[in-house]
């Protein structure tokens, strides 16, 4: 049994925020390619939000290191500068590169969204974005699809990173990447639902219906993935589904975070249906709690629950 790696709240938040960033980039690009002009505000919000979240991810990962100033050792061989440091079979190494590349894609999208929204008027930036948009459609489509691929990888690799350890609960949960990716998409949809509900205009309502439909389907898939994961885990799931963490998992993650938002639209209870943001709020809370219990359960009691 390995010693506890002492991955605490910096990593929990990184997994949560990284998932939302990946989901937002995917949804923004989906709305751009598959939506109609009424979905442009969705794309703009997604692209404006993704890049800062990706930067936050890099910051959280860096301050979590025992030696933060050596963060670049993840990417460059410190003894053979500037040779790259990459172990494609090690999820943490691969993830560091994907984070860096995804930052480029989200940064480009961020710049475009900034110019669209009129917040940046610098001539050089405007010319650069105009040049990009003048490219043939096939190139722009390829760029978008590559960006989506990196986003979806980034959303799910965090789960596979845990699979690539020898901690029994994580090592044997081959579906953890899938669960985290579905949760990433679901929490991103939920965040957008909250934002659009606040805007409360006609165009937002059109986008909202699409996003809520997609979110319900993803939540159903996430529930299915969790069930299959627990069945395949067998007795290895014990730290997750029993004791205090079990209570949090069953009531918090499965009950409040997944089942409740899934069934909420079918409930005709007057009090609940008057709170249209309740379901999305629960999805977001459940997504954070999912990462908390999955990361903390097998490390406890060798780690303080408030460990950063």
């Amino acid at each position: 049994m390995p010693n506890a790696p002492h991955w605490g709240w910096f990593i929990i938040l990184y997994f949560f925020i990284g998932g939302i960033a990946a989901g937002l980039y995917f949804i923004g690009t989906l709305a751009l390619l598959g939506g109609d002009p009424r979905d442009r505000p969705v794309t703009r919000f997604c692209y404006l939000a993704t890049f800062p979240l990706v930067l936050a991810c890099g910051f959280l990962l860096t301050i979590d290191l025992g030696k933060p100033l050596r963060f670049w050792h993840m990417l460059i061989q410190s003894e053979r500068i500037p040779l790259p440091m990459l172990k494609y079979w090690a999820p943490m190494s691969l993830g560091s590169w994907v984070l860096g590349i995804f930052a480029i894609f989200s940064g480009v999208a961020f710049l475009g969204a900034l110019i669209d929204s009129g917040r940046v008027t610098a001539e050089r930036a405007t010319r650069l974005v105009a040049w990009g948009r003048a490219r043939p459609r096939a190139i722009k489509l390829t760029w978008s699809l590559i960006g989506i691929s990196f986003a979806l990888f980034f959303g799910g690799y965090t789960g596979v990173l845990l699979v690539g350890t020898n901690v029994p609960l994580w090592h044997n949960a081959q579906l953890l990447g899938a669960v985290f990716l579905l949760s990433a998409a679901s929490t991103a949809y939920a965040l957008l639902v909250l934002v659009l509900r606040r805007r409360d205009d006609r165009e937002s309502m059109v986008s909202l219906r699409k996003l809520e439909t997609a979110d319900r389907w993803i939540i159903a898939l996430e529930l299915l993935a969790i069930v299959i994961m627990l069945v395949t885990l067998g007795s290895f799931a014990r730290p997750l589904i029993t004791g205090g963490f079990g209570v949090l998992f069953w009531i918090g993650v499965v009950g409040i975070g997944l089942l409740f938002p899934l069934l909420l639209p079918s409930l005709r209870s007057g009090t609940l249906s008057r709170r249209p943001t309740l379901g999305a709020t629960c999805v977001l809370a459940g997504g954070l709690l999912l990462r908390f219990v999955v990361i903390m359960a097998p490390q406890w009691p060798n780690i303080a629950l408030w460990k950063l």
Partner: protein, 281 residues
């Protein structure tokens, strides 16, 4: 030529000279300045391998519930084992280290370069033996097989200090031959001994053991695996999930468009639903 340890647990007397020698040679401080509480677990005072304890002598007391049965202490035994890094031939910590800080030396030992390690703790979670740990300096630490001593033709401090030769240092092939002979001798005496650390365990352990009970009795895993054993499968399943995310997203957007077209073509136009009832779409 691979160098390593052969640890004969039947010869260990629990003196902890190896622990002391390791601390002294490597200049490792005691945890909490030595003010730690006793574990209350037999003579064990350090509890586990850690960044500050690269050797750990385990005390395993096996007594029947009724010690008087069949005579006092009959059928009882006290197992002792000096544990350390196994310097695995296929080392999970080396496999996952994203910075290249963990390397294999010319002696086939597994070594953490302290000037490269950035404290990501991937190795900590990868070691199935609970050997690697992070220290107060934020970096990962474990037994170095006294790399500095080996470079000067000396044996590791623990092996030199061991008064019963329970810990032996040398060429792994020669040590394994010696261990096989020892197992044969013990079995001839009726002791159910075996070698833990042949090729079936992570390609072989360069620090291996002669044990007389199941591995889990000593806190050792029965079938340790490479950390990445399930990674390819994990990525494959994630790819399926990614396809599902993409398909559901496209379908949700498409469904809405189809609904709009259907509504536009409908002979009896229905009024637009109020905005605040759209949550069940």
């Amino acid at each position: 030529m691979a160098k390593g340890f052969y640890t004969d647990t039947t010869a260990c007397i629990g003196c902890k000279a190896c622990q002391v020698a390791c601390h002294q040679w490597n200049n490792i401080p005691a945890e909490d300045g030595g003010r730690r509480d006793l574990t209350g677990d037999s003579y064990d005072n350090t509890g586990r391998l850690s960044a500050l304890d690269w050797r750990h002598v385990k005390f395993i007391e096996q007594f029947p519930d009724d010690r008087q049965q069949d005579g006092f202490l009959k059928g009882s035994r006290w197992l002792m084992m000096s544990d350390t890094c196994k310097h695995c031939v296929q080392a999970p910590c080396l496999e996952v280290c994203p910075t290249g800080a963990i390397i294999r030396t010319e002696f086939d030992s597994v070594f953490i370069q302290q000037d490269v390690c950035n404290g990501c703790r991937a190795c900590v979670s990868a070691c199935p033996f609970g050997v690697v740990d992070t220290g107060p300096d934020g970096k990962a630490h474990k037994c170095t097989l006294c790399y500095d001593r080996l470079q000067h033709g000396q044996e590791p401090a623990c092996a030199q200090a061991c008064p019963t030769d329970s810990i032996r240092f040398g060429d792994v092939d020669e040590l394994m031959t010696y261990a096989d002979q020892r197992v044969a001798n013990l079995r001839a005496q009726g002791v159910d001994a075996y070698v833990y650390g042949k090729e079936d365990i992570l390609g072989g352990l360069n620090s291996f053991y002669v044990l007389v009970d199941k591995p889990n009795v000593y806190g050792l895993p029965e079938n340790p695996q490479m950390a990445s054993a399930n990674v390819a499968e994990g990525f494959a399943i994630s790819t399926v999930a990614a396809a599902a995310v993409a398909v559901t997203g496209i379908a949700a957007f498409r469904k809405h468009r189809m609904d709009e077209i259907a509504a536009a073509e409908s002979p009896a136009p229905t009024p637009e639903p109020p905005a605040n009832e759209s949550s069940d779409a």
